[in-house]
Every structure is written in structure tokens, then in C-alpha cells.
């Protein structure tokens, strides 16, 4: 994937988010985060639960306001949701009364684009993720992994430039999750240009991304920006390699370091188990 190093496709500058700002219960969910993504990169934001990484993603998608700092995508400041961005949420969020195909076409309907022009594309996407026989099934007839696959297709059907994913596979079992990761890489190489993937799984981040941004809980900011050296396509087996595990170990250390000064050992060890998963 050719990456123009100097291009500032996504620009996040000193961005903070404070909930209930100005009150005694003010909570700083994101604290002065800055990074730049060139077009075409697959970037993972890695951090423990509650570190504000989802909030960061929602701000990038224009679904949350920014308390301080600024975000620009494609050179234009983010002030609200955009059609050049596709978002995948933690749950599949399918509409229960619509078939898989109609769920995939939902964005087209909302965007008032001609359905006929997209129907074939939607079918191809569903076939691509192995749901050939399920395009007319309703969500309740699909398994959790299948629903998330429909959600991937829905995020890709209108061909967004940037795909934002908020722990999309965290509710799936480990085996399904590995499958979904492989599938996602496959699709990303064909369809999207730039991807930001939020996760609390170190291995998932290293397997998927060109670059891993590590976020910690206190302060809720990015403490590490690591480039993953593996070439694509990546077979599942790279997870067994020494280099892969060294990178994972390094990332784990970085996360634990940032938790140590707080002197809360029990919480850290819980946090670690969570991270390994």
C-alpha cells in the first residue's frame, strides 16, 4: 500500500474531551491527543477499557463534539458527520425488520442515492464476506459474526474514504474474531483507503495495523506511536512469530508503565488480563 508520508489526511491536534465541563464532576475522557494519518494507512488505537479511545473515534466521526483542539479530515475541519466516513460500532446495529441486503443498502437509502446502482455492489460485498445464502435473512436469523459481517458491508457499501471501527469484534468469540480480522484485512485492501480501528486487544492491533497508537487511562492520551513492520498480505500464522510477540510484549509494557505511578496494582493486573484477550 503506497503511503505518501507527508500527506495529512487526518489531522488531530491537541484534542481534548471533557464531559460535564465546568462542574465538579467534570471528567476528562480524552486529554490533549495529537496525531496525523496519511491516506491509505490502517491504524489501530490500542488501550484499556475506559481510556477514552471510543470517545476519540466518535469525535473523528463527527458524532461527539470536541472540547478543545481541532480535528480536520481531508483538510476540512470536522463539524459533524460526513458521508466520506464509514463507522462500525461495537454492536452490529442492524435494523431487525430489514433483511441483510436491505441493511447493507440502508446508507444508500438515507443518502438518497439510486438503490439500483448499488444493489449489485451490496450483493457482491455480502458474497465476499461469505453470506451468499443469507442475503434475504433477517438479523435474528444470523449469528453474531454474521451480523458483524453485514455491518462491515454496510460501512463499505457507499465507498467511504475513511473507515472508523469502534471495537467491532469485541463481542465475538476468539475464533470468530480471528476470522473476522482476516476478512477485514482482505476487504480493506480492496475497498477502503484509510482505516482507524479501536481495540483493547494487543494482538488484534498488531495483526491488523500498519501503525499502533497506544492510549492510556490516566492521562487519556497517546503515549506510543509504533509502526508495525509486517508486510501484507499477512497470514494468521505471523501471530506465532517471535517478532510479532516481541512487539506485543513491548506494547504491553508501555501500557503497564503508564499505570504504575498510580500505585494501583490490583487494577493494573486486571487491566493486563483484559489486554491480553
Amino acid at each position: 500500500m503506497p503511503v505518501v508520508e507527508h500527506e495529512r489526511y487526518v489531522e488531530v491536534a491537541e484534542v481534548s474531551k471533557v464531559y460535564r465541563s465546568g462542574t465538579p464532576e467534570a471528567v476528562e475522557a480524552v486529554s490533549s491527543v495529537s496525531f496525523i494519518l496519511p491516506r491509505g494507512q490502517f491504524v489501530a488505537v490500542l488501550g484499556p477499557s475506559g481510556c477514552g479511545k471510543s470517545t476519540l473515534l466518535m469525535m473523528l466521526g463527527g458524532l461527539e463534539s470536541v472540547t478543545a483542539g481541532h480535528i480536520a479530515i481531508g483538510g476540512e475541519p470536522m463539524i459533524g458527520p460526513r458521508t466520506s466516513i464509514g463507522i462500525m460500532f461495537q454492536d452490529a446495529t442492524l435494523l431487525p425488520w430489514k433483511s441483510a441486503l436491505d441493511n447493507v443498502l440502508f446508507p444508500i437509502r438515507v443518502l438518497k442515492r439510486p438503490l439500483d446502482a448499488y444493489r449489485d455492489g451490496a450483493r457482491q460485498l455480502l458474497e465476499r464476506v461469505g453470506l451468499d445464502g443469507f442475503i434475504y435473512k433477517k438479523p435474528h436469523e444470523l449469528s453474531g459474526g454474521m451480523r458483524q459481517r453485514v455491518a462491515i458491508c454496510r460501512a463499505l457499501v457507499y465507498d467511504p474514504e475513511l473507515l472508523l471501527m469502534d471495537e467491532p469484534f469485541s463481542a465475538l468469540d476468539a475464533i470468530t474474531r480471528d476470522e473476522m480480522n482476516e476478512l477485514l484485512l482482505d476487504l480493506w485492501q480492496q475497498y477502503t483507503k484509510t482505516a482507524l480501528f479501536v481495540t483493547h486487544s494487543i494482538r488484534e492491533a498488531v495483526f491488523l495495523a500498519d501503525r499502533v497508537l497506544v492510549m492510556t487511562r490516566r492521562p487519556a492520551t497517546i503515549v506510543e506511536d509504533l509502526t508495525v513492520p509486517f508486510a501484507r498480505p499477512r497470514p494468521m500464522a505471523i501471530g506465532e512469530s517471535r517478532e510479532f510477540n516481541e512487539i506485543c510484549g513491548h506494547l504491553r509494557e508501555r501500557i503497564e508503565e503508564s499505570h504504575r505511578p498510580n500505585g494501583r496494582r490490583p487494577e493494573t493486573s486486571v487491566g493486563r488480563r483484559e489486554l491480553v484477550g
Binding site: L63, P81, T83, I85, I87, W97, V110
Partner: protein
């Protein structure tokens, strides 16, 4: 999986007990079971009723036997039909009024926090008033014509629609609305494409209650002031001690109620299916 076993979870009877139900367990009969069983039950009740009334020689004025009620139903059918018309029409009118106002108010409550904070607690308190006690007021306000009965019945049946619809709108999956917003959908699109279809089961459950309440409201209205209608006819028959006629009228009322309820259920099925197709 045996045929018998598959029926167990649905009706919750242990397999051993089910064996005693051999007649209904036959495959072709089992499908008709939801129809046959209640009809059988009703038939048994009628038989016992007939038997008890005959054996204990209960006077027909107190409790007429089913056979006599059937006879009365046959004899007075044209009159009953004549009185059924205004009752049915008033109930339908009240139902539509209540549904339109109820859904409308629920939308207002959903989209305006100001209106919600102002109205919702009052609606709940109002729910608690025994609204039947207000029926005479409607006669004072709107006279003895059909308007007072329709408005009273609508008033009675309006509450379940508002409450149920408002709850339905509020319980829409937040993530679905977020998805909608992420696609730059307008407020109207979010409502029409997500919030409304999500709330349909709740709206229809409110409307089903409203339908039965509307019939009740109209009958109460007819008890108070009317020159026609089944409520009026029941009162008239009771003043003449024609108990069998009362029961015959009740039977007709029952049929009307079932038909109206069924119509709402059918409408729900059609609307939900039409959403599924899109």
C-alpha cells in the same frame, strides 16, 4: 426430535402429561390445537351452564340457559344488528381519534424535552383517575348526541396510546440512532426510518388496548345517554327483565370486540410486513 417433544417448550406440559392428551397429539390435529382447545373449553362451559340451570331450576330472569339465549339471539337478531351499528361506528371513531391524538402527543413528548417535562407527569397522574367517573361530564359538555360518547370513549382510550407510544419511541436502540446520525440523516429520516419502525410493536400494543377501551367507553356513554346502541339496548332489556336479551346483546358485543381487535392486529401484521419488505 419427536413430534411430541417439540410441542413441550411451547405449551409447557411435561411429556408424560402430554401422553394423556393423545387425541390432540395426532399430527394433523395438533396444528389446529390452538383453535380446537379454546372452543372445546367454551363448549364445556356452556354445557355445564345449561345443565346447572336446568337441574337447579334457576329462573330464566336470573340466569337464562344458553339454549334460550341462542334462541333469543336468533329472534332478535335484526334489532341487535340495528343497535350494533352505532356502537361499532362510535367505537371506531373514538379509536381513530385516540390513536391519532395519542401518537401525535407521543411524538411531541419525544422531541420536546420541555413538553415532556411538562406533560408526562400529568399524564401519569391522569391515568390514575377512574375516568369512567367523568362520563357524565361529557354529557354536560357535549350533549346527549353521539359526539359526547365518541369524545368520552376517545378520552378513555387515548392514554394507553400516548404512554405506550412514548415508551416505544424512547426505547429505540441508541446505537441505531447514532448510526443514522453518522450517515448525515435528517431528523425526519431518523424518525421515519428508525424510530418509528422500532416503536411499531409498542404503538400497536397501545392501540390494541385503545380499541377495547373505546368499546368500553362507548357502552358507558350509551348507558348514560342514548337512543340507540347496544349499551342502550342492554339497559332497555334490563328494565324489562329480559335477561336472555341482555346476554344475546352481550354476545353481539363480544363478537364486535373480537372483530375490532382482530382488525387492529391484522393492521399491525400488514404494517410490520410492509416494513420488512423495504
Amino acid at each position: 426430535m419427536t413430534a411430541e417433544y417439540s410441542a413441550v417448550p411451547r405449551i409447557g406440559i411435561a411429556p408424560a402429561r402430554l401422553a394423556g392428551n393423545a387425541v390432540l397429539a395426532a399430527p394433523h390435529l395438533r396444528r389446529l390445537r390452538p383453535v380446537i382447545l379454546p372452543l372445546l373449553m367454551a363448549a364445556v362451559v356452556l354445557l355445564v351452564w345449561q345443565f346447572v340451570v336446568t337441574v337447579l331450576r334457576i329462573p330464566a330472569v336470573i340466569l337464562p340457559p344458553p339454549v334460550e339465549i341462542g334462541h333469543e339471539l336468533w329472534r332478535a337478531f335484526p334489532v341487535l344488528l340495528h343497535h350494533a351499528v352505532p356502537t361499532t361506528l362510535d367505537s371506531l371513531m373514538a379509536f381513530f381519534l385516540a390513536s391519532a391524538l395519542g401518537v401525535g402527543l407521543a411524538i411531541a413528548i419525544t422531541y420536546s424535552p420541555f413538553l415532556r417535562d411538562m406533560l408526562y407527569p400529568n399524564l401519569i397522574v391522569f391515568q390514575l383517575i377512574p375516568k369512567v367517573a367523568l362520563a357524565p361530564l361529557f354529557v354536560v359538555w357535549l350533549g346527549i348526541g353521539s359526539e359526547s360518547r365518541v369524545v368520552f370513549a376517545a378520552f378513555v382510550s387515548f392514554f394507553p396510546v400516548v404512554i405506550s407510544t412514548a415508551v416505544g419511541f424512547a426505547n429505540v436502540e441508541a446505537s441505531a440512532l447514532r448510526l443514522c446520525r453518522s450517515l448525515t440523516a435528517s431528523e425526519w429520516q431518523c424518525f421515519a426510518m428508525v424510530r418509528f419502525p422500532f416503536a411499531l410493536p409498542a404503538i400497536f400494543s397501545g392501540m390494541k388496548i385503545a380499541m377495547t377501551m373505546a368499546v368500553i367507553g362507548v357502552i358507558i356513554g350509551e348507558f348514560i345517554s342514548a337512543q340507540a346502541g347496544l349499551g342502550f339496548y342492554i339497559l332497555y332489556a334490563s328494565s324489562r327483565m329480559e335477561t336472555a336479551v341482555i346476554f344475546a346483546a352481550l354476545f353481539v358485543l363480544c363478537v364486535i370486540g373480537v372483530a375490532l381487535f382482530g382488525a387492529v392486529a391484522l393492521a399491525e401484521e400488514l404494517v410490520r410486513r410492509s416494513y420488512g419488505r423495504r
